[in-house]
Amino acid sequence: MAKPLKLERAHPLGDQNFGAPGISITSVRGGYRCSLRVAQSDISAVSNALGVDLPQAPKTSARSANRVAMWLGPDEWLIYDSKANPIDDLKNINALCSAVDVSHRNTAIEAKGPLAAEVINAGCPQDLSLEVFPVGACSRTILGKAEIVLYRAKADTFHIECWRSFAPYVFELLRTAARDQSALAVR
């Protein structure tokens, strides 16, 4: 038996970042994700196991320490945790649900700065005003030709999840839009 290797996770974007006045686009390394489907009857049991109350209103999320539960559909959530894999808390649960580890399926990009919403609006048709998409709002939506899950972590900070092979496209679209918006903002 050869000695076991200690392999590090590789981000599909490496260390790519982009910054311009009013906006930064950063690849978010690591993180754990779980695609969660839960029968109505078992929402509270699963919430207890996860340590976060699964939100039940569209476009909302719930947060507890490093863990965010994002509502994606009437029985569907994306759980994101920056430190620990939420799937570990659901392994032995006796509830009618489907928990699937998608930590590596998705990857994340952060858009931060006063121009963040306008930059994302280059490819996302949603209304990202704070009034309609407040802090904590989330949505499975599109960015150009890619599907994303958009989560507003702070007024000026968005966490963008996409499938890993779409990450270069998503990053490049955000980078291009950031360049434009930053230039247009100082006309």
Binding site: P4, L5, K145, A183
Partner: protein
């Protein structure tokens, strides 16, 4: 750059809003001319007493500037910033002058003044309506050499740029409560009222400054200041509000469903040296809760003989040039009108010192006050008169005037004529919103009737003529819209007091006196497409009775100006010729775009790498490093083959295939679709989706499954692993991943909603490395922990979870090559590191990586099908020789009824078999047809086709698979593949070419 303003002969000191302190220079056809900051190319040209700016499309007639806005049909120029930035057909009335701008006239050769193409004008009887349809019919032979080149030369105006567009374009989605289209007094009033009541407001206007008609209407006073100054004050107020966005130089060009409106903002077109980081244009895709349309109205020209001579322009345009740009359109300006507005223009010109020899009014009794004022100013007014023809060629020189009811002509010398046939409400955006217009017979105009969307029209575009009524309507619209959206916002009343701006009376649509039916004159209805009143009558005479047909036959209104000036005239002339009332004939539908839009802005970011996402597997860069050549599979880049130095594709593929069979090969299978099926009913669900039985598949076991559509034809295939009682790992073809998930979800939601099962795409969660060949176990086992890889513990078609290289794996013993093999699933972020580690071991063992081409050959050697290559949507599992995969005892699955259809169980269906080339060397062409007898007369009966064909290095002969009628019963039979140069003889065989017993799978 300090050209003295005095050399602009028509610039009138003290008039207009431009500052003599901001001089610019530009060129027109190579000649340098002075201008002022804020000028349009049109105002600057007229300031330099240049009216002749182009040649017309069909007749090459000299043409001038007609308007002062986006409705301009004539003054289309090529604008060049540098060699790569040349844009044809820019309206001189819209393009702002920047220092160094280069403008060129179009459609003339050798020069604007002496144009060879003018012959068309003399030969014009040959070029009347429908000329193209009538002339280019026959002989058929003439098409390629004569007609098409002629049409191509004639079609289109201006020169397309030849260089790659160096600019970039931006696009943005935006939302608001109230979107206001148009920044005239109506739009600004509505915006102010809406914004003050808490609404999120966007107001846009196509011009460089807000104000609309206030640019020219010097009679209006608002809140104690002149109208234009008021407009600038309100613009600044709105811009300072957090809830209002003000977009200048921004045209709303498309109004789509649910108040989705597209705007184009010209960001750098007016700048002399734009910053490189600025996009040239920005596309706004706005979704508004309410839309307020305040697009104003457009003045019409008069349709009289030679009404296209340079120097003849709209009265309101002349007033704009005077009052905004400080430019007189001439020194001796005739007036021809059917509407009061031309009087106001004439008075302004007269008061600015320009001679007005006569106002010719077709009406017998115009407004008394206007007549009195004309008299007081010493202007001669000829009521009940018409301009029978304009004189001059490169510039109007006279107007020939006669009483409408007949009488002697008087020729009056002029250097310009201003005209007004009345005003057309600009219902374009309303019409685009699918609203239905209604006819206002009193004023001969179409106004908004039935609304289709949540929008409202205000002011002139709504047929509201009076200024105070316009303001009342605008404030009410703004407040109503805001309050409908913002129920709880603090209410705030808006009061705007305006004086002046009397409603203008009078209208004339159709031909003016002297251009009636029977008169052989060139009285232009549509300047841009060179359509005359006579052409429209000819169309009716030739049997075109629908206005849609008349429009297409004559091309009236079909140029880039969309008939902003010509539609009403064309309609009136057609109605008269048809002997019908105008509303009976009907208005044509307006469509996007309102004004031309660049492709660059529409494409925006979606070019180059952003044209389409390019998907790469986690191991991509490692594959690049070892020399992989890639092929596109859907949006994926897949390693196709890995040539060593000096190898061509054929040699590389042969080596890869041989190595995999004799030693070990590794393959990146990450693009395979994967679906995790979880829930207590997971097995039951898969049992219904696949033809195979799934209920009894044990945990840790794999099964190859086929999925059909309801009609019984193969839809996809793949290997399914049972991870746990209630959890399956399903794989699909690379291309089938999204549609298989969709089909499963569709059945789950519509046919089997009672089932407790959920589907999750895990295609990209797992990187998949296939290690195949006799040495595969030796390669893999040193890196694996927690899994016994022996055949006893992990036989073919079974799987286990453990670790490889210290990371978790779902390790599957399976094969798409016919060799003993493993498919190693690892979380994708580890994929590249695991690949690199295994590759090193494979290489040390004398193995290699193989690509998709070798994978195709290896599986064909075993007769394994590829859905979509060996099936075409009409192949059942039985046809494909996969009847064993259909559960005989199953009472239901998707496709079970389809498979019982009489035609699907009939004899003689095309069945998948193998083919050997009898000569032992001819590799068949995929897609080639197969016949029983190559000597039969043509057309031959084709009994099948080749679906897969390769040279097999392992079998040392060509191999092929084919779908052939009754193929299973033709084993050993000789058939023929007729090709262009030869007929290839083939023999039908079983579709297995290597290891027929299949022993190698079991290692």
């Amino acid at each position: 750059m300090n050209a003295p303003v005095s050399i602009q002969p028509n610039r009138i000191p003290g008039k207009g809003r431009l500052s003599a302190a901001d001089p610019l220079r530009f060129t027109f056809d190579g000649k340098t001319l002075p201008a002022l900051k804020g000028d349009t190319v049109a105002s600057a040209l007229i300031a330099n007493d240049i009216h002749l700016v182009g040649r017309s499309f069909k007749y090459h007639r000299p043409r001038g500037i007609v308007s002062a806005g986006s409705e301009e049909p004539n003054a289309l120029l090529g604008i060049q910033r540098d060699v790569a930035r040349h844009t044809p057909n820019i309206r001189a009335t819209v393009q702002e002058v920047y220092d160094g701008l280069e403008a060129t006239s179009q459609n003339r050769w050798p020069s604007l003044k002496y144009d060879i193409g003018e012959i068309n004008d003399i030969a014009s009887p040959l070029l009347s309506a429908g000329f193209y349809y009538k002339t280019f019919m026959w002989p058929r032979k003439a098409w390629d050499k004569v007609y098409e080149p002629f049409i191509r030369k004639a079609a289109g105006l201006g020169k397309a740029p030849v260089h790659k567009d160096p600019d970039h374009y931006s696009s943005q989605h935006e939302h608001c409560d109230v979107l206001i289209l148009g920044g005239g007094i109506a739009g600004l009033s509505a915006a102010l009222a809406a914004a003050k009541n808490g609404a999120r407001v966007i107001i846009c206007d196509e011009q460089a400054t807000f104000g609309g008609a206030l640019h020219f209407d010097s009679d209006v006073t608002v809140d104690g200041m002149d109208g234009f100054s008021w407009a600038q004050k309100v613009t600044a107020e709105l811009a300072a509000m957090d809830n209002a966005r003000v977009l200048l130089r921004t045209t709303a060009f498309g109004y789509y469903a649910q108040n989705y409106v597209a705007l184009i903002e010209r960001v750098t077109e007016h700048l002399s040296a734009p910053r490189a980081d600025l996009p040239r244009e920005r596309l706004w895709e706005v979704r508004a809760k309410k839309v307020i349309i305040a697009t104003g109205s457009i003045e019409r020209h008069m349709v009289f003989a030679n009404n296209d001579r340079p120097g003849i322009l709209l009265a309101s345009a002349a007033r704009t040039y005077l009052n905004h740009y400080g430019v007189g359109v001439g020194k001796n300006v005739g007036v021809y009108t059917a509407n009061d507005s031309a009087y106001a223009a004439a008075f302004d010109l007269k008061e600015a010192g320009i001679n007005i020899p006569a106002i010719v009014d077709v009406r017998d009794n115009p407004n008394e006050e206007l007549l009195a004022k004309a008299s007081a100013l010493g202007i001669r007014v000829l009521t009940g008169h018409g301009v029978m023809a304009a004189g001059g060629k490169l510039r109007v020189s006279s107007m020939s005037v006669a009483p409408v009811n007949g009488g002697a002509n008087e020729v009056i010398a002029v250097d310009s004529i201003i005209m007004s046939g009345g005003w057309t409400p600009s219902v374009h955006m309303f019409s685009q919103s699918r609203g239905k217009v209604t006819y206002d017979a009193d004023k001969s105009r179409f106004v908004p009737g039935v609304y289709a969307q949540d929008c409202v029209s205000i002011g002139a575009c709504n047929g509201t003529d009076n200024l105070s009524a316009t303001i009342d309507e605008a404030i009410a619209a703004g407040e109503d819209a805001a309050r409908a959206v913002r129920h709880n916002a603090k209410q705030s009343a808006t009061a705007i007091n305006a004086t002046g701006g009397e409603a203008w009376e009078g209208t004339l649509i159709g031909a003016a006196p002297g251009a009636e039916a029977g008169k052989v004159v060139k009285a232009f209805v549509d300047f841009q497409n060179d359509v005359t009143a006579k052409d429209i009558r000819l169309a009716v005479q030739e049997g075109f009775h629908s206005i849609e047909h008349v429009k297409r036959f004559t091309t009236n209104g079909m140029a880039t100006d969309q008939g902003k000036l010509s539609n009403m005239h064309g309609l009136a002339i057609a109605a008269e010729a048809l002997g019908k009332d105008l509303p009976e004939v009907g208005l044509t539908t307006f469509r996007a775009p309102y004004t031309p839009v660049t492709f660059g802005a529409l494409v925006s970011h979606s070019k180059g790498t952003l044209f389409e996402p390019t998907r790469k597997t986690p191991m991509h860069d490692s594959e690049v490093a070892i020399g992989a050549v890639f092929e596109d599979v859907g949006s994926w880049k897949r390693a196709w083959y890995y040539p060593k130095t000096g190898e061509d594709m054929h040699a590389a593929v042969n080596r890869e295939c041989k190595t995999a069979r004799t030693n070990v090969g590794m393959f990146d299978a990450s693009t395979l679709g994967k679906i995790e099926v979880v829930g207590p009913d997971a097995a039951e669900f898969l049992n219904l989706i696949y033809t195979n039985p799934f209920l009894k598949l044990g945990v840790g076991k794999l099964r190859y499954g086929i999925m059909c559509r309801e009609d019984g034809f193969i839809y996809d295939d793949g290997v399914v692993a049972r991870i746990a009682e209630d959890r399956f790992h399903v794989t699909t073809t690379t291309g089938g991943a999204p549609r298989v998930l969709n089909m499963m979800e569709d059945y789950l939601q519509t046919e089997f909603p009672h089932m407790k099962v959920w589907l999750t795409s895990t295609s990209e969660q797992w990187a998949v490395i296939a290690v195949q060949g006799p040495k595969s176990r030796d390669i893999v086992s040193p890196f694996v922990e927690g899994i016994d890889l022996s055949t006893e513990a992990l036989p073919h078609m079974s799987m286990a979870e453990g670790t490889i290289c210290g990371v978790p794996t779902r390790l599957m013993r399976m094969s798409f090559t016919g060799e003993m093999g493993f498919e190693i699933n690892v979380p994708a972020d580890y994929g590249r590191a695991v690949w690199d580690t295994l590759y090193q071991a494979v290489e040390e063992a004398g193995g290699c990586a193989y690509g998709t081409e070798a994978m195709h050959v290896l599986r064909a050697e075993k007769g394994y099908i590829i859905v979509g290559q060996d099936t075409d949507g009409t192949v059942t599992p039985y046809d494909a020789g996969l009847g064993w995969a259909v559960g005989k005892k199953k009472t239901d699955f998707v496709g079970i009824r389809g498979l019982k259809r009489p035609d699907l169980v009939a004899e003689g269906r095309r069945q998948l078999v193998g083919l050997k080339s009898v000569d032992g060397r001819s590799v068949l062409e995929e897609g080639a047809q197969i016949v029983d007898d190559p000597n039969q007369p043509m057309p031959m009966k084709m009994i099948g086709w080749v679906s897969s064909s390769y040279w097999s290095g392992n079998a040392q002969k060509p191999i092929a698979m084919a779908l052939i009628e009754d193929g299973f019963n033709l084993m050993g039979k000789k058939l023929y593949v007729p090709m262009a140069n030869e007929v290839i003889e083939v023999e039908v065989c079983k579709a297995v070419f290597v290891d027929e017993e299949g022993g190698r799978l079991h290692g």
